[in-house]
Protein backbone atom coordinates (compact mmCIF):
# COMPACT_ATOMS: atom_id res chain seq x y z
CA UNK A 1 0.00 0.00 0.00
CA UNK A 2 2.80 2.42 0.90
CA UNK A 3 4.65 1.64 -2.33
CA UNK A 4 1.46 2.08 -4.25
CA UNK A 5 0.84 5.52 -2.70
CA UNK A 6 4.37 6.69 -3.44
CA UNK A 7 4.55 5.24 -6.95
CA UNK A 8 1.09 6.68 -7.74
CA UNK A 9 2.15 10.17 -6.60
CA UNK A 10 5.43 9.96 -8.52
CA UNK A 11 3.59 8.72 -11.59
CA UNK A 12 1.16 11.62 -11.50
CA UNK A 13 3.87 14.27 -11.02
CA UNK A 14 5.76 12.73 -13.94
CA UNK A 15 2.56 12.73 -15.95
CA UNK A 16 2.06 16.44 -15.29
CA UNK A 17 5.55 17.16 -16.54
CA UNK A 18 5.22 15.01 -19.67
CA UNK A 19 1.72 16.38 -20.39
CA UNK A 20 3.16 19.91 -20.41
CA UNK A 21 6.01 18.75 -22.64
CA UNK A 22 3.56 16.93 -24.92
CA UNK A 23 1.39 20.04 -25.25
CA UNK A 24 4.41 22.19 -26.12
CA UNK A 25 5.82 19.56 -28.49
CA UNK A 26 2.61 18.85 -30.40
CA UNK A 27 4.05 20.18 -33.70
CA UNK A 28 7.02 17.81 -33.39
CA UNK A 29 4.70 14.92 -32.56
CA UNK A 30 3.00 15.27 -35.93
CA UNK A 31 5.98 13.29 -37.23
CA UNK A 32 4.91 9.63 -36.70
CA UNK A 33 8.28 8.22 -35.55
CA UNK A 34 8.60 10.83 -32.80
CA UNK A 35 5.00 10.30 -31.68
CA UNK A 36 5.45 6.52 -31.70
CA UNK A 37 8.60 6.61 -29.62
CA UNK A 38 7.13 9.06 -27.10
CA UNK A 39 3.87 7.05 -26.87
CA UNK A 40 5.77 3.79 -26.54
CA UNK A 41 7.77 5.14 -23.60
CA UNK A 42 4.55 6.11 -21.84
CA UNK A 43 2.94 2.81 -22.60
CA UNK A 44 5.80 0.94 -20.96
CA UNK A 45 5.54 3.29 -17.99
CA UNK A 46 1.79 2.72 -17.68
CA UNK A 47 2.30 -1.03 -18.09
CA UNK A 48 4.86 -1.02 -15.26
CA UNK A 49 2.50 0.87 -12.93
CA UNK A 50 -0.36 -1.55 -13.61
CA UNK A 51 1.91 -4.57 -13.67
CA UNK A 52 0.68 -5.74 -17.06
CA UNK A 53 2.88 -6.55 -20.04
CA UNK A 54 2.59 -4.03 -22.87
CA UNK A 55 2.67 -5.92 -26.14
CA UNK A 56 2.56 -4.73 -29.72
CA UNK A 57 3.72 -1.37 -31.02
CA UNK A 58 1.35 1.60 -31.46
CA UNK A 59 0.83 2.97 -34.95
CA UNK A 60 1.54 6.64 -35.84
CA UNK A 61 -2.07 7.86 -35.94
CA UNK A 62 -2.91 6.10 -32.71
CA UNK A 63 0.12 7.72 -31.08
CA UNK A 64 -1.13 11.17 -32.07
CA UNK A 65 -4.58 10.44 -30.62
CA UNK A 66 -2.83 9.33 -27.49
CA UNK A 67 -0.86 12.62 -27.28
CA UNK A 68 -4.12 14.60 -27.19
CA UNK A 69 -5.67 12.25 -24.63
CA UNK A 70 -2.51 12.43 -22.56
CA UNK A 71 -2.69 16.22 -22.38
CA UNK A 72 -6.47 16.25 -21.76
CA UNK A 73 -6.41 13.62 -18.97
CA UNK A 74 -2.84 13.81 -17.71
CA UNK A 75 -2.68 17.58 -17.19
CA UNK A 76 -5.68 17.94 -14.80
CA UNK A 77 -4.85 14.75 -12.89
CA UNK A 78 -1.20 15.71 -12.60
CA UNK A 79 -2.10 19.24 -11.52
CA UNK A 80 -4.46 17.87 -8.87
CA UNK A 81 -1.63 15.72 -7.54
CA UNK A 82 0.75 18.70 -7.48
CA UNK A 83 -1.77 20.87 -5.58
CA UNK A 84 -2.50 18.09 -3.09
CA UNK A 85 1.15 17.32 -2.39
CA UNK A 86 2.18 20.99 -2.45
CA UNK A 87 -0.41 21.91 0.15
CA UNK A 88 0.74 19.10 2.43
CA UNK A 89 4.21 20.63 2.18
CA UNK A 90 2.85 24.10 3.00
CA UNK A 91 1.00 22.81 6.05
CA UNK A 92 3.98 20.82 7.26
CA UNK A 93 6.77 23.35 6.65
CA UNK A 94 5.45 26.89 6.10
CA UNK A 95 2.59 26.91 8.67
CA UNK A 96 4.81 26.29 11.73
CA UNK A 97 7.04 29.13 10.51
CA UNK A 98 4.15 31.64 10.15
CA UNK A 99 5.82 34.08 12.54
CA UNK A 100 8.83 34.44 10.28
CA UNK A 101 6.76 35.82 7.37
CA UNK A 102 5.83 39.51 7.06
CA UNK A 103 2.24 40.18 8.34
CA UNK A 104 0.89 40.85 4.83
CA UNK A 105 2.43 37.74 3.24
CA UNK A 106 1.62 35.01 5.75
CA UNK A 107 1.19 31.42 4.43
CA UNK A 108 -2.46 30.41 3.95
CA UNK A 109 -4.25 27.11 4.60
CA UNK A 110 -7.28 25.38 2.98
CA UNK A 111 -6.32 26.69 -0.41
CA UNK A 112 -9.63 27.87 -1.80
CA UNK A 113 -10.71 29.43 1.48
CA UNK A 114 -7.34 31.14 1.87
CA UNK A 115 -7.22 31.13 5.66
CA UNK A 116 -4.09 33.10 6.63
CA UNK A 117 -2.03 31.68 9.47
CA UNK A 118 -1.72 34.46 12.03
CA UNK A 119 -1.37 32.61 15.33
CA UNK A 120 -0.08 29.30 16.73
CA UNK A 121 -3.61 27.85 17.14
CA UNK A 122 -4.40 28.21 13.41
CA UNK A 123 -0.94 27.00 12.48
CA UNK A 124 -1.08 23.80 14.56
CA UNK A 125 -4.78 22.85 14.39
CA UNK A 126 -5.38 24.05 10.82
CA UNK A 127 -2.05 22.65 9.64
CA UNK A 128 -2.79 19.25 11.17
CA UNK A 129 -6.28 19.14 9.65
CA UNK A 130 -4.86 20.03 6.23
CA UNK A 131 -2.12 17.39 6.49
CA UNK A 132 -4.58 14.68 7.58
CA UNK A 133 -7.19 15.48 4.91
CA UNK A 134 -4.75 15.87 2.02
CA UNK A 135 -2.57 13.04 3.31
CA UNK A 136 -5.59 10.74 3.18
CA UNK A 137 -6.30 11.94 -0.35
CA UNK A 138 -2.68 11.31 -1.38
CA UNK A 139 -2.80 7.90 0.27
CA UNK A 140 -6.03 6.65 -1.27
CA UNK A 141 -7.12 8.90 -4.11
CA UNK A 142 -3.85 9.69 -5.93
CA UNK A 143 -2.99 6.00 -6.63
CA UNK A 144 -6.49 5.54 -8.04
CA UNK A 145 -6.02 8.58 -10.27
CA UNK A 146 -2.63 7.32 -11.40
CA UNK A 147 -4.10 3.96 -12.33
CA UNK A 148 -6.98 5.66 -14.10
CA UNK A 149 -4.52 7.59 -16.24
CA UNK A 150 -2.43 4.49 -16.93
CA UNK A 151 -5.56 2.57 -18.00
CA UNK A 152 -6.62 5.38 -20.32
CA UNK A 153 -3.11 5.42 -21.76
CA UNK A 154 -3.07 1.66 -22.41
CA UNK A 155 -6.64 1.66 -23.75
CA UNK A 156 -5.92 4.41 -26.28
CA UNK A 157 -2.67 2.75 -27.35
CA UNK A 158 -3.95 -0.86 -27.41
CA UNK A 159 -3.42 -2.25 -30.91
CA UNK A 160 -6.54 -3.12 -32.86
CA UNK A 161 -7.23 -6.68 -34.03
CA UNK A 162 -5.91 -5.65 -37.43
CA UNK A 163 -2.68 -4.27 -35.98
CA UNK A 164 -2.19 -7.41 -33.91
CA UNK A 165 -2.63 -9.50 -37.02
CA UNK A 166 -0.15 -7.37 -38.95
CA UNK A 167 2.39 -7.73 -36.19
CA UNK A 168 1.86 -11.50 -36.03
CA UNK A 169 2.43 -11.70 -39.78
CA UNK A 170 5.62 -9.66 -39.32
CA UNK A 171 6.91 -12.05 -36.65
CA UNK A 172 6.05 -15.09 -38.76
CA UNK A 173 7.68 -13.59 -41.83
CA UNK A 174 10.83 -12.88 -39.86
CA UNK A 175 10.95 -16.36 -38.31
CA UNK A 176 10.29 -17.93 -41.70
CA UNK A 177 13.15 -16.00 -43.21
CA UNK A 178 15.19 -17.21 -40.23
CA UNK A 179 14.22 -20.84 -40.98
CA UNK A 180 15.13 -20.53 -44.64
CA UNK A 181 18.43 -18.86 -43.72
CA UNK A 182 19.19 -21.47 -41.07
CA UNK A 183 18.32 -24.26 -43.48
CA UNK A 184 20.54 -22.81 -46.21
CA UNK A 185 23.40 -22.26 -43.78
CA UNK A 186 23.02 -25.83 -42.52
CA UNK A 187 23.18 -27.26 -46.04
CA UNK A 188 26.27 -25.17 -46.73
CA UNK A 189 27.92 -26.42 -43.57
CA UNK A 190 27.17 -30.06 -44.47
CA UNK A 191 28.42 -29.52 -48.01
CA UNK A 192 31.63 -27.96 -46.68
CA UNK A 193 32.19 -30.71 -44.12
CA UNK A 194 31.73 -33.44 -46.73
CA UNK A 195 33.75 -31.60 -49.34
CA UNK A 196 36.70 -30.64 -47.16
CA UNK A 197 36.70 -33.83 -45.12
CA UNK A 198 35.25 -37.03 -46.48
CA UNK A 199 35.59 -36.19 -50.17
CA UNK A 200 39.19 -35.01 -49.78
CA UNK A 201 40.05 -38.19 -47.92
CA UNK A 202 38.49 -40.39 -50.61
CA UNK A 203 40.59 -38.58 -53.22
CA UNK A 204 43.66 -39.22 -51.08
CA UNK A 205 42.82 -42.91 -50.73
CA UNK A 206 42.40 -43.24 -54.52
CA UNK A 207 45.76 -41.54 -55.02
CA UNK A 208 47.51 -43.77 -52.50
CA UNK A 209 45.99 -46.92 -54.04
CA UNK A 210 46.86 -45.74 -57.57
CA UNK A 211 50.48 -45.18 -56.58
CA UNK A 212 50.55 -48.57 -54.86
CA UNK A 213 49.41 -50.21 -58.12
CA UNK A 214 52.18 -48.47 -60.03
CA UNK A 215 54.81 -49.71 -57.58
CA UNK A 216 53.42 -53.23 -57.41
CA UNK A 217 55.97 -54.80 -59.74
CA UNK A 218 59.22 -53.31 -58.51
CA UNK A 219 58.86 -51.79 -55.02
CA UNK A 220 56.97 -53.94 -52.50
CA UNK A 221 58.13 -51.80 -49.54
CA UNK A 222 56.57 -48.67 -51.01
CA UNK A 223 53.37 -50.63 -51.72
CA UNK A 224 53.17 -51.69 -48.06
CA UNK A 225 53.63 -48.10 -46.85
CA UNK A 226 51.07 -46.72 -49.31
CA UNK A 227 48.52 -49.38 -48.40
CA UNK A 228 48.96 -48.66 -44.70
CA UNK A 229 48.46 -44.94 -45.38
CA UNK A 230 45.37 -45.57 -47.51
CA UNK A 231 43.98 -47.75 -44.74
CA UNK A 232 44.49 -45.04 -42.14
CA UNK A 233 42.96 -42.40 -44.38
CA UNK A 234 39.90 -44.61 -44.88
CA UNK A 235 39.50 -44.99 -41.12
CA UNK A 236 39.74 -41.23 -40.65
CA UNK A 237 37.12 -40.72 -43.35
CA UNK A 238 34.75 -43.09 -41.54
CA UNK A 239 35.17 -41.30 -38.21
CA UNK A 240 34.63 -37.94 -39.86
CA UNK A 241 31.61 -39.06 -41.82
CA UNK A 242 30.04 -40.43 -38.66
CA UNK A 243 30.50 -37.06 -36.95
CA UNK A 244 28.88 -35.25 -39.89
CA UNK A 245 25.94 -37.68 -39.94
CA UNK A 246 25.45 -37.14 -36.21
CA UNK A 247 25.03 -33.39 -36.82
CA UNK A 248 22.62 -33.88 -39.72
CA UNK A 249 20.19 -36.14 -37.89
CA UNK A 250 21.29 -38.12 -34.82
CA UNK A 251 21.04 -41.82 -35.82
CA UNK A 252 19.68 -42.80 -32.41
CA UNK A 253 16.72 -40.47 -33.08
CA UNK A 254 16.07 -42.18 -36.40
CA UNK A 255 16.32 -45.61 -34.72
CA UNK A 256 14.46 -45.09 -31.49
CA UNK A 257 12.40 -41.92 -31.82
CA UNK A 258 12.51 -39.08 -29.32
CA UNK A 259 11.85 -41.05 -26.14
CA UNK A 260 14.48 -43.70 -26.90
CA UNK A 261 17.00 -41.07 -27.94
CA UNK A 262 16.39 -39.07 -24.75
CA UNK A 263 16.80 -42.15 -22.59
CA UNK A 264 20.14 -42.79 -24.30
CA UNK A 265 21.11 -39.15 -23.87
CA UNK A 266 20.26 -39.20 -20.17
CA UNK A 267 22.24 -42.41 -19.70
CA UNK A 268 25.29 -40.71 -21.18
CA UNK A 269 25.09 -37.69 -18.89
CA UNK A 270 27.59 -37.54 -16.05
CA UNK A 271 25.05 -35.64 -13.92
CA UNK A 272 22.16 -37.96 -12.97
CA UNK A 273 19.05 -37.10 -15.01
CA UNK A 274 15.49 -37.78 -13.90
CA UNK A 275 13.20 -38.01 -16.92
CA UNK A 276 9.47 -37.41 -16.85
CA UNK A 277 8.26 -38.24 -20.29
CA UNK A 278 4.57 -38.23 -21.13
CA UNK A 279 3.15 -40.03 -24.15
CA UNK A 280 3.90 -37.55 -26.91
CA UNK A 281 2.16 -39.22 -29.83
CA UNK A 282 3.52 -38.74 -33.33
CA UNK A 283 5.71 -35.64 -33.71
CA UNK A 284 7.04 -34.03 -36.89
CA UNK A 285 10.68 -35.02 -37.51
CA UNK A 286 11.79 -31.37 -37.34
CA UNK A 287 10.24 -30.93 -33.89
CA UNK A 288 11.87 -34.16 -32.68
CA UNK A 289 15.25 -33.07 -34.00
CA UNK A 290 15.01 -29.63 -32.39
CA UNK A 291 13.75 -31.11 -29.10
CA UNK A 292 16.69 -33.55 -29.09
CA UNK A 293 19.15 -30.79 -29.92
CA UNK A 294 17.76 -28.47 -27.22
CA UNK A 295 17.93 -31.16 -24.55
CA UNK A 296 21.38 -32.38 -25.60
CA UNK A 297 22.66 -28.80 -25.51
CA UNK A 298 20.99 -28.08 -22.16
CA UNK A 299 22.49 -31.23 -20.60
CA UNK A 300 25.91 -30.30 -21.98
CA UNK A 301 25.57 -26.85 -20.41
CA UNK A 302 24.57 -28.36 -17.07
CA UNK A 303 27.55 -30.72 -17.15
CA UNK A 304 30.00 -28.01 -18.15
CA UNK A 305 28.89 -24.97 -16.18
CA UNK A 306 26.24 -25.62 -13.54
CA UNK A 307 28.12 -27.78 -10.99
CA UNK A 308 24.78 -29.49 -10.44
CA UNK A 309 24.13 -32.79 -8.65
CA UNK A 310 20.91 -33.62 -10.47
CA UNK A 311 18.85 -32.61 -13.47
CA UNK A 312 15.11 -32.98 -13.95
CA UNK A 313 13.86 -33.29 -17.51
CA UNK A 314 10.14 -32.99 -18.20
CA UNK A 315 8.57 -33.29 -21.63
CA UNK A 316 4.87 -33.16 -22.28
CA UNK A 317 2.43 -32.30 -24.97
CA UNK A 318 -0.77 -30.32 -24.52
CA UNK A 319 -2.80 -30.35 -27.73
CA UNK A 320 -0.41 -29.02 -30.32
CA UNK A 321 2.25 -27.56 -28.05
CA UNK A 322 5.33 -29.51 -26.94
CA UNK A 323 6.77 -28.31 -23.64
CA UNK A 324 10.28 -29.10 -22.46
CA UNK A 325 11.63 -28.20 -19.05
CA UNK A 326 15.20 -28.76 -17.95
CA UNK A 327 15.83 -27.88 -14.32
CA UNK A 328 19.09 -28.35 -12.42
CA UNK A 329 20.14 -27.67 -8.85
CA UNK A 330 23.41 -26.02 -9.86
CA UNK A 331 24.91 -22.60 -9.23
CA UNK A 332 22.69 -20.66 -11.68
CA UNK A 333 23.78 -17.44 -13.31
CA UNK A 334 23.33 -18.79 -16.84
CA UNK A 335 23.10 -15.92 -19.27
CA UNK A 336 21.70 -15.87 -22.79
CA UNK A 337 24.28 -13.31 -23.82
CA UNK A 338 27.27 -15.44 -22.81
CA UNK A 339 28.18 -18.60 -24.65
CA UNK A 340 26.63 -19.85 -27.83
CA UNK A 341 24.76 -22.79 -26.31
CA UNK A 342 21.67 -20.88 -25.26
CA UNK A 343 21.76 -18.65 -28.32
CA UNK A 344 21.77 -21.79 -30.49
CA UNK A 345 18.79 -23.15 -28.58
CA UNK A 346 16.88 -19.87 -29.04
CA UNK A 347 17.65 -19.77 -32.75
CA UNK A 348 16.50 -23.32 -33.41
CA UNK A 349 13.35 -22.94 -31.32
CA UNK A 350 12.50 -19.59 -32.89
CA UNK A 351 12.77 -21.20 -36.31
CA UNK A 352 9.81 -23.41 -35.31
CA UNK A 353 7.92 -20.38 -33.94
CA UNK A 354 8.50 -21.61 -30.38
CA UNK A 355 9.47 -19.74 -27.22
CA UNK A 356 12.40 -20.11 -24.79
CA UNK A 357 12.40 -18.94 -21.19
CA UNK A 358 15.57 -19.10 -19.11
CA UNK A 359 15.38 -18.53 -15.38
CA UNK A 360 18.76 -18.73 -13.70
CA UNK A 361 19.32 -16.46 -10.70
CA UNK A 362 22.87 -16.43 -9.28
CA UNK A 363 23.07 -19.29 -6.79
CA UNK A 364 20.56 -21.32 -8.81
CA UNK A 365 18.49 -23.21 -9.55
CA UNK A 366 18.42 -22.95 -13.33
CA UNK A 367 15.25 -23.68 -15.27
CA UNK A 368 15.07 -23.73 -19.05
CA UNK A 369 11.55 -23.90 -20.47
CA UNK A 370 10.88 -24.36 -24.17
CA UNK A 371 7.55 -24.47 -25.92
CA UNK A 372 7.13 -25.41 -29.55
CA UNK A 373 4.07 -25.87 -31.72
CA UNK A 374 3.95 -29.46 -32.97
CA UNK A 375 0.78 -29.75 -35.01
Amino acid sequence: MRDRAFSGSAYLLGTLATAVVTALALPVLLAPPAARGWAEWHRQRAGRLLGVPADGRPGGRRALAWALAHVAVGFPLGLAALICLGNILVAAVAAPLWWAFPADARPTLFSFFDVPVGDWKTALVGGSVQIVVLGAAAWWVLPMMARLHARVCLAVLAPSARERLTERVDVLTRSRVGVVDAHGAELQRIERDLHDGTQARLVTIAMQLGMARESLADDPDTVATLLAQAHETAEEAMVELRAVLQTIYPPILADRGLDGALTALAARSSVPVHIELADLGALPATVEAVAYYVIAEALTNVTKHAAATRVALRIERADDVLSIEVTDDGRGGADEARGTGIAGICRRVAALDGAVRLDSPPGGPTALAVQMPCA
Partner: protein, 228 residues
Protein backbone atom coordinates in the same frame (compact mmCIF):
# COMPACT_ATOMS: atom_id res chain seq x y z
CA UNK B 1 33.87 -71.71 -37.91
CA UNK B 2 30.39 -71.56 -39.48
CA UNK B 3 28.99 -68.04 -39.83
CA UNK B 4 25.61 -66.52 -40.75
CA UNK B 5 25.78 -62.93 -42.06
CA UNK B 6 22.74 -60.67 -41.59
CA UNK B 7 23.31 -57.58 -43.70
CA UNK B 8 21.00 -56.02 -46.29
CA UNK B 9 23.72 -54.05 -48.07
CA UNK B 10 25.10 -56.38 -50.76
CA UNK B 11 28.36 -54.45 -51.09
CA UNK B 12 29.11 -54.97 -47.41
CA UNK B 13 27.82 -58.54 -47.12
CA UNK B 14 29.82 -59.78 -50.11
CA UNK B 15 32.94 -57.99 -48.89
CA UNK B 16 32.51 -59.58 -45.49
CA UNK B 17 31.95 -62.99 -47.08
CA UNK B 18 35.16 -62.65 -49.07
CA UNK B 19 37.14 -61.57 -46.03
CA UNK B 20 35.84 -64.40 -43.85
CA UNK B 21 36.48 -66.99 -46.55
CA UNK B 22 40.07 -65.74 -46.82
CA UNK B 23 40.43 -66.23 -43.06
CA UNK B 24 39.14 -69.79 -43.19
CA UNK B 25 35.60 -69.23 -41.96
CA UNK B 26 32.65 -70.89 -43.67
CA UNK B 27 29.79 -68.50 -44.43
CA UNK B 28 26.75 -70.77 -44.41
CA UNK B 29 24.10 -68.13 -45.14
CA UNK B 30 23.80 -64.45 -46.03
CA UNK B 31 20.38 -62.97 -45.28
CA UNK B 32 18.90 -59.48 -45.42
CA UNK B 33 16.35 -59.22 -42.61
CA UNK B 34 15.44 -60.41 -39.12
CA UNK B 35 12.90 -63.09 -40.08
CA UNK B 36 15.23 -64.73 -42.60
CA UNK B 37 17.96 -64.59 -39.95
CA UNK B 38 15.94 -66.67 -37.47
CA UNK B 39 15.11 -69.19 -40.19
CA UNK B 40 18.77 -69.41 -41.23
CA UNK B 41 19.86 -70.00 -37.64
CA UNK B 42 17.28 -72.76 -37.22
CA UNK B 43 18.37 -74.37 -40.45
CA UNK B 44 22.18 -74.05 -40.25
CA UNK B 45 22.93 -73.96 -36.52
CA UNK B 46 25.96 -71.63 -37.04
CA UNK B 47 28.76 -71.06 -34.52
CA UNK B 48 28.23 -67.32 -34.72
CA UNK B 49 26.07 -64.73 -36.47
CA UNK B 50 27.22 -61.31 -37.66
CA UNK B 51 24.25 -58.93 -37.51
CA UNK B 52 23.83 -55.39 -38.84
CA UNK B 53 21.76 -53.05 -36.63
CA UNK B 54 19.73 -51.37 -39.39
CA UNK B 55 17.67 -53.89 -41.32
CA UNK B 56 14.51 -53.84 -43.40
CA UNK B 57 11.62 -53.19 -43.18
CA UNK B 58 11.95 -50.04 -41.06
CA UNK B 59 15.76 -49.60 -41.07
CA UNK B 60 15.84 -48.66 -37.43
CA UNK B 61 17.23 -50.99 -34.76
CA UNK B 62 15.78 -54.31 -36.00
CA UNK B 63 19.22 -55.91 -35.79
CA UNK B 64 19.33 -55.44 -32.00
CA UNK B 65 15.86 -56.94 -31.56
CA UNK B 66 16.64 -59.81 -33.94
CA UNK B 67 19.88 -60.55 -32.07
CA UNK B 68 18.15 -60.60 -28.68
CA UNK B 69 15.38 -62.82 -30.03
CA UNK B 70 17.82 -65.23 -31.63
CA UNK B 71 19.69 -65.53 -28.32
CA UNK B 72 16.44 -66.22 -26.45
CA UNK B 73 15.32 -68.84 -28.95
CA UNK B 74 18.63 -70.47 -29.73
CA UNK B 75 20.39 -70.85 -26.39
CA UNK B 76 22.78 -67.89 -26.26
CA UNK B 77 23.84 -68.11 -29.90
CA UNK B 78 27.07 -66.07 -30.13
CA UNK B 79 26.36 -62.85 -31.99
CA UNK B 80 28.58 -60.05 -33.21
CA UNK B 81 26.54 -56.91 -33.88
CA UNK B 82 27.96 -54.42 -36.38
CA UNK B 83 26.84 -50.85 -36.85
CA UNK B 84 27.80 -47.56 -38.48
CA UNK B 85 27.55 -45.91 -35.07
CA UNK B 86 27.66 -47.24 -31.53
CA UNK B 87 25.40 -46.32 -28.68
CA UNK B 88 26.02 -47.26 -25.07
CA UNK B 89 22.31 -47.99 -24.69
CA UNK B 90 22.43 -50.77 -27.30
CA UNK B 91 25.49 -52.28 -25.66
CA UNK B 92 23.58 -52.43 -22.38
CA UNK B 93 20.67 -54.23 -24.05
CA UNK B 94 22.93 -56.74 -25.75
CA UNK B 95 24.74 -57.48 -22.49
CA UNK B 96 21.55 -57.59 -20.43
CA UNK B 97 20.94 -61.35 -20.59
CA UNK B 98 24.17 -61.81 -18.67
CA UNK B 99 25.44 -64.56 -20.96
CA UNK B 100 28.70 -64.51 -22.87
CA UNK B 101 29.28 -64.70 -26.58
CA UNK B 102 28.31 -61.16 -27.47
CA UNK B 103 30.10 -58.53 -29.51
CA UNK B 104 29.24 -54.99 -30.55
CA UNK B 105 31.60 -53.26 -32.96
CA UNK B 106 31.69 -50.36 -35.39
CA UNK B 107 31.83 -51.43 -39.04
CA UNK B 108 35.06 -49.40 -39.20
CA UNK B 109 36.80 -52.21 -37.31
CA UNK B 110 36.35 -54.77 -40.11
CA UNK B 111 39.25 -53.09 -41.90
CA UNK B 112 41.67 -54.19 -39.19
CA UNK B 113 41.23 -57.74 -40.40
CA UNK B 114 43.34 -59.61 -37.85
CA UNK B 115 41.77 -57.78 -34.91
CA UNK B 116 38.30 -58.23 -36.36
CA UNK B 117 38.73 -61.98 -36.85
CA UNK B 118 40.22 -62.20 -33.37
CA UNK B 119 37.12 -60.51 -31.95
CA UNK B 120 34.89 -62.83 -33.97
CA UNK B 121 36.65 -65.93 -32.61
CA UNK B 122 36.55 -64.53 -29.10
CA UNK B 123 32.78 -64.03 -29.28
CA UNK B 124 32.22 -67.45 -30.88
CA UNK B 125 34.13 -68.95 -27.94
CA UNK B 126 31.76 -67.28 -25.46
CA UNK B 127 33.80 -64.13 -24.83
CA UNK B 128 32.97 -60.46 -25.27
CA UNK B 129 34.05 -57.87 -27.83
CA UNK B 130 33.03 -54.34 -26.99
CA UNK B 131 33.93 -51.47 -29.30
CA UNK B 132 36.50 -49.01 -27.91
CA UNK B 133 33.94 -46.25 -28.69
CA UNK B 134 31.39 -47.81 -26.34
CA UNK B 135 33.99 -48.16 -23.62
CA UNK B 136 35.04 -44.54 -24.21
CA UNK B 137 31.40 -43.45 -23.83
CA UNK B 138 31.13 -45.41 -20.59
CA UNK B 139 34.35 -43.91 -19.25
CA UNK B 140 33.56 -40.36 -20.40
CA UNK B 141 30.29 -39.96 -18.56
CA UNK B 142 31.89 -40.83 -15.22
CA UNK B 143 33.21 -37.47 -14.27
CA UNK B 144 33.79 -37.81 -10.59
CA UNK B 145 34.26 -41.07 -8.80
CA UNK B 146 36.74 -43.84 -8.02
CA UNK B 147 37.70 -43.96 -11.71
CA UNK B 148 39.55 -40.69 -11.11
CA UNK B 149 41.94 -42.44 -8.76
CA UNK B 150 43.24 -44.67 -11.58
CA UNK B 151 46.56 -43.84 -13.19
CA UNK B 152 46.52 -43.32 -16.94
CA UNK B 153 48.12 -46.75 -17.51
CA UNK B 154 45.52 -48.38 -15.27
CA UNK B 155 42.79 -46.58 -17.18
CA UNK B 156 44.23 -47.89 -20.42
CA UNK B 157 44.26 -51.44 -19.04
CA UNK B 158 40.68 -51.00 -17.83
CA UNK B 159 39.54 -49.87 -21.30
CA UNK B 160 41.19 -52.87 -22.97
CA UNK B 161 39.75 -55.20 -20.35
CA UNK B 162 36.26 -53.74 -20.95
CA UNK B 163 36.65 -54.31 -24.69
CA UNK B 164 36.98 -58.01 -23.85
CA UNK B 165 40.72 -58.62 -24.20
CA UNK B 166 42.63 -61.14 -22.08
CA UNK B 167 45.83 -60.39 -20.16
CA UNK B 168 48.14 -61.57 -22.93
CA UNK B 169 46.53 -59.23 -25.49
CA UNK B 170 46.51 -56.34 -23.05
CA UNK B 171 50.23 -56.88 -22.40
CA UNK B 172 50.92 -56.98 -26.13
CA UNK B 173 48.85 -53.84 -26.90
CA UNK B 174 50.40 -51.84 -24.08
CA UNK B 175 53.89 -53.27 -24.71
CA UNK B 176 54.32 -54.35 -21.10
CA UNK B 177 54.95 -57.68 -19.38
CA UNK B 178 52.21 -60.06 -18.24
CA UNK B 179 53.26 -59.37 -14.68
CA UNK B 180 52.79 -55.64 -15.13
CA UNK B 181 49.30 -56.23 -16.54
CA UNK B 182 48.50 -58.46 -13.60
CA UNK B 183 49.59 -55.70 -11.23
CA UNK B 184 47.57 -53.00 -13.03
CA UNK B 185 44.47 -55.15 -12.94
CA UNK B 186 44.92 -55.93 -9.28
CA UNK B 187 45.15 -52.21 -8.55
CA UNK B 188 42.07 -51.44 -10.67
CA UNK B 189 39.93 -54.02 -8.89
CA UNK B 190 41.13 -52.78 -5.50
CA UNK B 191 40.48 -49.12 -6.32
CA UNK B 192 37.03 -49.75 -7.80
CA UNK B 193 36.06 -52.07 -4.96
CA UNK B 194 35.39 -55.01 -7.27
CA UNK B 195 35.98 -58.59 -6.20
CA UNK B 196 39.11 -59.86 -7.95
CA UNK B 197 37.91 -62.32 -10.57
CA UNK B 198 39.50 -64.83 -12.84
CA UNK B 199 40.12 -63.68 -16.37
CA UNK B 200 37.63 -64.21 -19.16
CA UNK B 201 34.00 -63.49 -19.60
CA UNK B 202 33.05 -62.96 -15.96
CA UNK B 203 35.76 -60.34 -15.54
CA UNK B 204 34.66 -58.38 -18.61
CA UNK B 205 31.09 -58.55 -17.38
CA UNK B 206 32.04 -57.27 -13.93
CA UNK B 207 33.92 -54.32 -15.42
CA UNK B 208 31.17 -53.41 -17.90
CA UNK B 209 28.50 -53.68 -15.22
CA UNK B 210 30.55 -51.41 -13.01
CA UNK B 211 31.03 -48.82 -15.78
CA UNK B 212 27.39 -49.02 -16.80
CA UNK B 213 26.17 -48.34 -13.25
CA UNK B 214 25.34 -44.96 -11.77
CA UNK B 215 28.38 -42.99 -10.68
CA UNK B 216 29.13 -43.58 -7.02
CA UNK B 217 29.30 -39.97 -6.02
CA UNK B 218 27.15 -37.30 -7.55
CA UNK B 219 29.09 -34.48 -5.89
CA UNK B 220 31.11 -32.56 -8.45
CA UNK B 221 34.80 -32.69 -7.78
CA UNK B 222 36.40 -29.35 -6.89
CA UNK B 223 37.79 -27.42 -9.79
CA UNK B 224 35.28 -28.76 -12.28
CA UNK B 225 32.94 -26.50 -14.17
CA UNK B 226 33.72 -22.97 -15.16
CA UNK B 227 34.04 -20.08 -12.75
CA UNK B 228 30.77 -18.14 -12.34
Amino acid sequence: MRVVIVEDNVLLSSGLELLLAAKGCEVVAVVGDGEAFLDAVAEHRPDIAIVDVRLPPSFRDEGIHAALRARREHGALPILVLSQYVEREYAGELLSDGRGGIGYLLKDRIGRVAEFVDALRRVAAGGTAMDPEVVAQLLARRADDPLDTLTSRERESLALMAQGHDNATIAERMRISDNAVHKHIGNIFAKLGLAPDDSGHRRVRAVLTYLDGTPRSAEPAPGRGNPP
